[in-house]
């Protein structure tokens, strides 16, 4: 049974410009010990999806309007996180499901030293006393690769480098040994050299603890390195989903194909042109009818403008490959690149 199953999640925001359907019918699942990558442009709804999983959507403008989020919090017991009480949700957050965010400088409290922020998780969920919690925190800092943890634990976030801050965030997330880790663009705000280190750290901890990980990013390179399976999001929906090899070798959705082709290649012809996806992502308050990608799609047919495509399965070897597109015989290589 999957660790996390999401069915038909819809999160909408009421704004000045109208009803923004940031997440509009998203379904996926994550198994224990596997890494699911969610990839998409800014505004595709990937961050909102992750925040919805923990019900951290700010509730005056936003709300989860439909769907279920089934989480296996203990063997055999499934809970629908959309419907559980707020008290239960608070018990899950930080303890069974943990989240790390994009910018560690702003995501850590600048007025408290690092130790305080770590210890409070243990005091809250594991009811540990302060000395014991502090000891555990120091061990965890060591495990994520922070040198001299006994001194560092009393530092304030601004005294640490960007990479170290992100390590602290990871330590904070893993303190209670959660079942699921949600990583929302964990390396986007970091230097390239540090990015690799952090990704390796996540991979290492994931294997050591058998975590399920949802890794959200816009960077296909990160996906290639880390993910077991990939879900591609566009305009609030998942347009393609499958094992990472399959998605990279045989993408079937025009958007995925476009994403792949827009990456500059080392072996490209010198003086050749880059091929971006033409146009811009739609305003989420005024989505076009039918398939939201059709205005930018070179293969759009009449049906694409009217009806939102259903899920279609494409035969693949190691896992299910699903795509939402009307155009049936699109295969890699048929698009000029």
């Amino acid at each position: 049974m999957a660790l996390l199953e999401v069915h038909g999640l819809k999160t909408h925001f009421s704004t000045e410009e109208g009803n923004v359907r940031a997440v509009d019918g998203v379904s996926f699942h994550v198994e224990r010990g596997e890494v699911l990558g969610i990839v998409g442009e800014s505004g595709s709804g990937k961050s909102v999806t992750s925040l919805s999983l923990l019900r951290l959507i700010p509730s005056p403008p936003g709300r989860i309007v439909a769907g279920e989020i089934l989480f296996e919090s203990s063997p055999g017991k499934k809970e629908d996180l959309v419907r559980v009480s707020e008290a239960r949700m608070r018990a899950v957050r930080g303890d069974r499901i943990a989240m790390i965010f994009q910018d560690p400088m702003t995501s850590l409290n600048p007025y408290m030293h690092v130790g305080e922020q770590l210890v409070e998780v243990l005091e809250l969920h594991k009811k540990m006393k302060r000395p014991e919690a502090r000891q555990k925190a120091i061990e965890m800092l060591k495990a994520v690769g922070i040198p001299a943890p006994q001194q560092r634990i009393d530092d304030h976030p601004h005294q640490l480098s960007g990479g170290m801050r992100q390590r602290v965030m990871i330590a904070m997330a893993l303190l209670c040994e959660p079942d699921l880790l949600i990583a929302d663009e964990p390396t986007t705000a970091l230097d390239v050299t540090v990015q690799a280190q952090i990704l390796e750290l996540i991979q290492d901890r994931q294997k050591a603890l058998g975590l399920g990980v949802i890794l959200i990013t816009h960077d296909l390179g990160v996906i290639a390195k880390m993910a077991d399976r990939v879900a591609v999001m566009y305009a609030g929906r998942i347009v393609e989903e499958g094992p990472v090899d399959v998605i990279f070798e045989d993408p079937r959705h025009p958007y995925t194909i476009g994403l792949k082709s827009s990456i500059p290649r080392l072996d490209a012809v010198r003086g050749g042109t880059l091929t971006p996806i033409p146009g811009m992502p739609p305003s989420m308050a005024r989505l076009p009818p039918g398939c939201p990608f059709h205005p930018r799609c070179a293969h759009a047919i009449a049906r694409c403008k009217e009806v939102y495509p259903d899920e279609r399965e494409i035969p693949a070897e190691d896992g299910r490959h699903l795509v939402r597109c009307h155009v049936e015989d699109l295969a890699a290589g048929s698009v000029a690149s």
Partner: protein, 326 residues
């Protein structure tokens, strides 16, 4: 790999961009409190301009026989100790109060903008010196200086008034006429109040200019030959306008409040150019006997300050793209 462009899809629309100013106005219009405040304020200003001219009673028309009377059909706000119609006096006082607010703020506006603009633009030593002066001045207890100024130099025997009279003698036949003194006093009030409040404006402007200085449009302007003055006044400052407008709108009520305070101490405007502050202060003296002489001017002052503050808040929220109310 063929270097051909992918076909540009047919149904391809661009989102219409909107300027910052228009966005801000739209947001402001949605803020009901601010809009109501703006309307009330405009109505008040209009009333202050029109009522004293149109009213049946003149604001300085005394009637000692009648003396102070509560609001009645003849005198809608009653009369004061000397039998003068309070309604006319209150709306005339409004002219004075708004004038003080406006002109003192203008003084502070111009000094602050130039000071802060120059400091922010040139940076380095110039900035350090200018801002150090601001810092030192900030710590001086200004209200004391203003009190000293008003008491000593703005008196009728003071040197400033003598200077004023000599300037006046060029234009007028009888500069010794004592009725010129209140005019002089009010000019001093403008200058003094403007002189206190420019400090924060300078700081704000400097901060804005510094953050705008590095932007590409400045480099572009410089590359077509714009000189320092042009860069400061035509390019940088207009783009820094947002917080400047907000702060100006919030300075007006502050200045009006200080003026009311000065009037209370007898150091503000003088009869017959009595502001709301002076009217309220005189009314406060005889509050238990003739409460309406206090209530009406105080109410007007409070309402204006209230509206200015709401408007300023609304402007601040509208111009700050981060704060979302919903």
């Amino acid at each position: 790999m063929a270097a051909s462009k992918p076909a540009v899809p047919a149904a391809f629309t661009l989102e219409k961009g909107s300027s910052l100013g228009r966005d801000a106005l739209r947001r402001l219009a949605k803020n009901r409190a601010a809009v109501v405040a703006g309307v009330v304020l405009s109505a008040l200003v209009l009333a202050c301009i029109l009522v004293p001219s149109l009213s049946y009673w003149r604001y300085d028309q005394a009637d000692l026989a009648t003396g102070p009377t509560p609001p009645s059909f003849q005198h809608w706000m009653g009369t004061d100790y000397f039998g003068r119609d309070l309604l006319a006096r209150v709306f005339f006082g409004g002219r004075i109060s708004f004038a003080v607010g406006l002109f003192a703020t203008l003084v502070s506006f111009f000094i602050g903008i130039t000071w802060g603009g120059v400091a922010g633009y040139f940076g380095g030593k110039v900035d350090a010196v200018l801002m150090r002066i601001v810092d030192v001045l900030y710590t001086v207890p200004f209200f004391i200086v203003v009190i000293l100024l008003m008491v000593f130099f703005a008196g009728q025997e003071g040197p400033l008034f003598k200077g004023f009279k000599s300037v006046l003698s060029v234009f007028v036949a009888h500069p010794e006429d004592p009725s010129y003194f209140p005019i002089f006093q009010i000019l001093i009030v403008f200058a003094a109040l403007g002189g206190i409040s420019w400090l924060t404006m300078a700081r704000i402007v400097r901060g804005q200019v510094i953050s705008l200085r590095e932007q590409p449009f400045v480099e572009a302007a410089r590359s077509i030959g714009a000189g320092h003055a042009a860069l400061i006044f035509r390019h940088l400052l207009p783009n820094a306008l947002g917080p400047i407008i907000v702060y100006t709108t919030l300075t007006i009520p502050e200045v009006m409040m200080i003026e009311a305070f000065l009037s209370f101490l007898g150091l503000g405007t003088q009869e017959p150019l009595s502001s709301w502050g002076l009217l309220a202060a005189t009314g406060a003296d005889s509050m238990d006997l003739y409460p309406w002489t206090l209530i009406f001017p105080a109410l007007m002052l409070a309402i204006s300050l209230f509206c200015f503050n709401f408007l300023g808040d609304g402007l601040r929220d509208a111009l700050d793209p981060r704060i979302r109310k919903d």
